[in-house]
Symmetry: D2
Amino acid sequence: MADSQRLSGIFTPNVVPLDAQGEINEAETRRYVDWLIERGVHGLYPNGSTGEFPRFTAEERRRIIEIIADQTAGRVPILAGAAEANTRETIKACEHYHELGVRAVAIVSPFYYKLSPAGVYAYFKEIADNSPVDVTLYNIPMFASPIDVPTVQRLAEECPRVVAIKDSSGDLPHMMRMIAKVRPLRPNFSFLTGWDAALMPMLLLGCDGGTNATSGVVPEITRKLYDLTLAHDLDKACKLQYRLLTLFDAMLLSSEFPEGFRSALRLRGIQTGVGRQPQSPTQQVQLHELSNQLQCLLAEEGFTQEPIGGCPVGESLKGGGVDSAAVDRIVDSVVGELRRRGMS
Amino acid sequence: MADSQRLSGIFTPNVVPLDAQGEINEAETRRYVDWLIERGVHGLYPNGSTGEFPRFTAEERRRIIEIIADQTAGRVPILAGAAEANTRETIKACEHYHELGVRAVAIVSPFYYKLSPAGVYAYFKEIADNSPVDVTLYNIPMFASPIDVPTVQRLAEECPRVVAIKDSSGDLPHMMRMIAKVRPLRPNFSFLTGWDAALMPMLLLGCDGGTNATSGVVPEITRKLYDLTLAHDLDKACKLQYRLLTLFDAMLLSSEFPEGFRSALRLRGIQTGVGRQPQSPTQQVQLHELSNQLQCLLAEEGFTQEPIGGCPVGESLKGGGVDSAAVDRIVDSVVGELRRRGMS
Amino acid sequence: MADSQRLSGIFTPNVVPLDAQGEINEAETRRYVDWLIERGVHGLYPNGSTGEFPRFTAEERRRIIEIIADQTAGRVPILAGAAEANTRETIKACEHYHELGVRAVAIVSPFYYKLSPAGVYAYFKEIADNSPVDVTLYNIPMFASPIDVPTVQRLAEECPRVVAIKDSSGDLPHMMRMIAKVRPLRPNFSFLTGWDAALMPMLLLGCDGGTNATSGVVPEITRKLYDLTLAHDLDKACKLQYRLLTLFDAMLLSSEFPEGFRSALRLRGIQTGVGRQPQSPTQQVQLHELSNQLQCLLAEEGFTQEPIGGCPVGESLKGGGVDSAAVDRIVDSVVGELRRRGMS
Amino acid sequence: MADSQRLSGIFTPNVVPLDAQGEINEAETRRYVDWLIERGVHGLYPNGSTGEFPRFTAEERRRIIEIIADQTAGRVPILAGAAEANTRETIKACEHYHELGVRAVAIVSPFYYKLSPAGVYAYFKEIADNSPVDVTLYNIPMFASPIDVPTVQRLAEECPRVVAIKDSSGDLPHMMRMIAKVRPLRPNFSFLTGWDAALMPMLLLGCDGGTNATSGVVPEITRKLYDLTLAHDLDKACKLQYRLLTLFDAMLLSSEFPEGFRSALRLRGIQTGVGRQPQSPTQQVQLHELSNQLQCLLAEEGFTQEPIGGCPVGESLKGGGVDSAAVDRIVDSVVGELRRRGMS
């Protein structure tokens, strides 16, 4: 490996700002990169799920990495999402991103078709054997073929290029099982969690960091939670984890992913533009309501002003925040659904 | 609509033959098109799941339609898979395929992200409002966001361009619920089943046809089953449906989809080449064994010779065929898995 | 076997009428037995899921069979639900019901714990080896450990006492796979479907009958559908299957099972009493509304008067009946949920 | 409430020792109670899932509580599983257990039928309004209708008798959402986790204790993990949590639950007898192999001798223990299955 150090810290899976024509807004993307780095994120992770890689063309995905690598200019490491239509195209992307100087690529497990563990293994093996840059496995069973523990172990054993896994299952014992199997064999192999709701306990039980969508919106909080946890300042970390959970749930569960993150980011002054997935009229109304709720949450954290109508008294992050019983029920059923799909 | 007649009959979701370099084998693709039309399929359905559309680049997907439209030359209608990265790209594909003279496009519901019914509606509404060619909805909940009955009904009511649904859920009462809702409003709306295992009962209960992967391998059988069913020759149809189920299960369940179909097609003399999804060494051995089993099944139907070692005595399509108890168990667990994912 | 004839026809999984104190209403239960037999059901199936066997004590379950066996007095065969806390208690129940003259018992697969196929096999093997009466396997993967095809085949081979399976998965190809495996070995083995929504196609593809909850409410329709299908009067059967689906969905999907069946049965003049599962105030309001909708559906079939406020014009069984788009959405999501749980 | 103090600490869901005839072994049960209390568990939890309450008759369930209450004689609090066939029978059990002096009852959510949140609410409301003893909700979505966050919140608000929830979902953010909602309203409401694999992080994020099956086999370890975690001795706690995970997985995932716990307990000298769920010949062989593996794990912890053939060198709890890649795969697929069913 070019780099013997474990990947660690908070990598931001950044949203891609779009302009009025729905095209990549390069200027705002560059401004957003600076904004994130100034607020302390340890790295960037373009072309992740939050970055909506499947909604861009292959050319656009390349351009996104090019812009971000150029703007970052080595200030922080980049983990570049590189999954393309097939292994040959993916390897070509690895080669290109390697030339751009990214620290590693991240490859999501095959999706649409649901592959068996043998198929998932064969897919990553071929890529790892041909990539000139370090590879991070990306496990997100909610959306893609799951990467099971024996497959991670086998790839870690056979492929020096595979240096990390990003796991968005949110399943703590699953993460522990991977760590127990792989760390003795590959001490520098890195484990990153993509599930903000469990960041603190994941770190306490051995994770090296996270690729957390909240860090794209409230990098100050996600980064602080990381620091407090590593310092074993448990009481403060615990309280902050609860506040992050409230924000995470509000952004994740009340709209089509990642529209909630896009809305919240707008409240922080980044011109994200309108997403590429069309929204029905009903959804647009719901997004507007969500935006008001998010504004109250962000105002409580001191990141923005309250909305014009003000926020409900006593609706605080500590006491439960924006949720009525009805919203709770929705949140709960969505969480149930996520769990059924293998996430959480 | 240009054409007031319902889509009906058997549309073949064709495999794409590849050459030794893994590129589209144009000559063999053209030969395969002729082979299928000569054997009686009513239409072609390129860029479907069997055609592995997600494993080709956007340029390749266009070329596949161009080759097939050119070779078909109007002999049978074409249903062209047109899903691209986002609605804008998809609409561009619709425009291009319209110019090529396809009968309709088929658009799979958004995948990777799992959208709510409101999101699925908004997606298809935007496409249908902008497509110059008739649109078939493609529901395959195993792989993509499900299209529920109220969404189908709403799209049928609001969008004259939406003329059909291809449903691969395999759920008969679900199909009946759609027919009950939509047929009174849109008598020419067509219902096609993608689940070969239930083709006969689907047709008996009102479906207009199917997009059936078996018709790409044994078009003689799938077509005959269609004809027998429409003629209400129930005893013969029932027996043939059981034989088709055996073939379908063998091709579907013993390997990564659609490798089993690719293997079987090779036995019929079409040079399919090696698929783009890498296979582990274990998987390659299994595929070889499967190929022998498929050869016995096809030999029994008179489509090929028995393999050199011969076939097990009494292993016939009627009596259960190639399966040992162990294989049965695998088949069963896979079916269970499919069901959990919303198929079957 | 005492009886070499296949179990066949429509067996009614009867609701148990309760009195004002929530106790078994023996008189009404006897009256209901006569009512059903007079309307042509081929057999009775007490202590099924519709009969809410888990909500009665062991003593009550015995008493239910005693009352029904006594009242039936041999007019139709009885399939007696006999699952108890463990195999020893279940075998005792088999012995008792055998003395009462039931045709066979039906044993649901173990529930609460989800057993592996090996565990399901061991459970039924022990019961079958010790039961003095024929045993019907009861597969209802929505509620209990699934019984997979190899397990059915193995039990059919090893246990002469096992003479049938009642399958409520609603999965047509699954039923066909079982028939393909078992019928060559045991020609008298019987296949009964518990999924009213697919009764006609199940019968056409080889099932011997059904244990259908609708037959407890509209025995005239379920029985007629059975007769029309066996006579291959396909057009009439198809129309009736659609009407039965509408009734089935309305009773199944708009309330906690089996409250919808209980409500509909009340409309037919059977005093079912209030069920044992408490209903929240909201649920009680919903049940009242459902009852009005059911009354319209039953009035259309000529089984009852319209409710006092009348029924919506044009709301007919043919055109879609009682459902608004909102109800449709609920129905659809419930169906999706059922499918996820392995049913349908 | 009789007791204003929160339920806290480790409650052991005890296995029920059976004699050679399969009957409750009272003498060994009493000895086991003493053994557990001597090893430091904070309370007992008879008639839980580990105690196989559904495999005993109603009379046996009562007798189990009677024996354990008598033998405990007030040394530790008892949480008595009290779920019966319906609310009336359950309330009778609550009354009886109250007279026996149990600290609280634990009621599993309705199972077999899968109830909606409204149905789950109505069920617990009726019980809580009529129970003379404190009630613990028992959420185990793998086996029973899930209890969602809004339902927990509503019951906590309306029912002073409901004082705790035992949650076996293993979902950490889910537990946090419940705590965030309920603790501000009911500071003495207790949260207990039934998922040993995440005990340490659950405690760190606000849980009051656990009802952990491992504490019935290795009470020394589970108790020590609890103490280390509360003392914020994070490094030692983390290592012990990993060792507990290895033991938990070995007992949970390699056999039908709870046979692995039964086997391990035998190795510790408790005569558990043979379980009531029959085991196929294959399963018996597998249980024998598992027992050898468990013996090695327990020997490493100093709780027993190595088996006669010795243990594999280097097979230690730290390095991954008993698992070959094949076992790993099984473990992984079982975990995946559990996750699909809503656990983990």
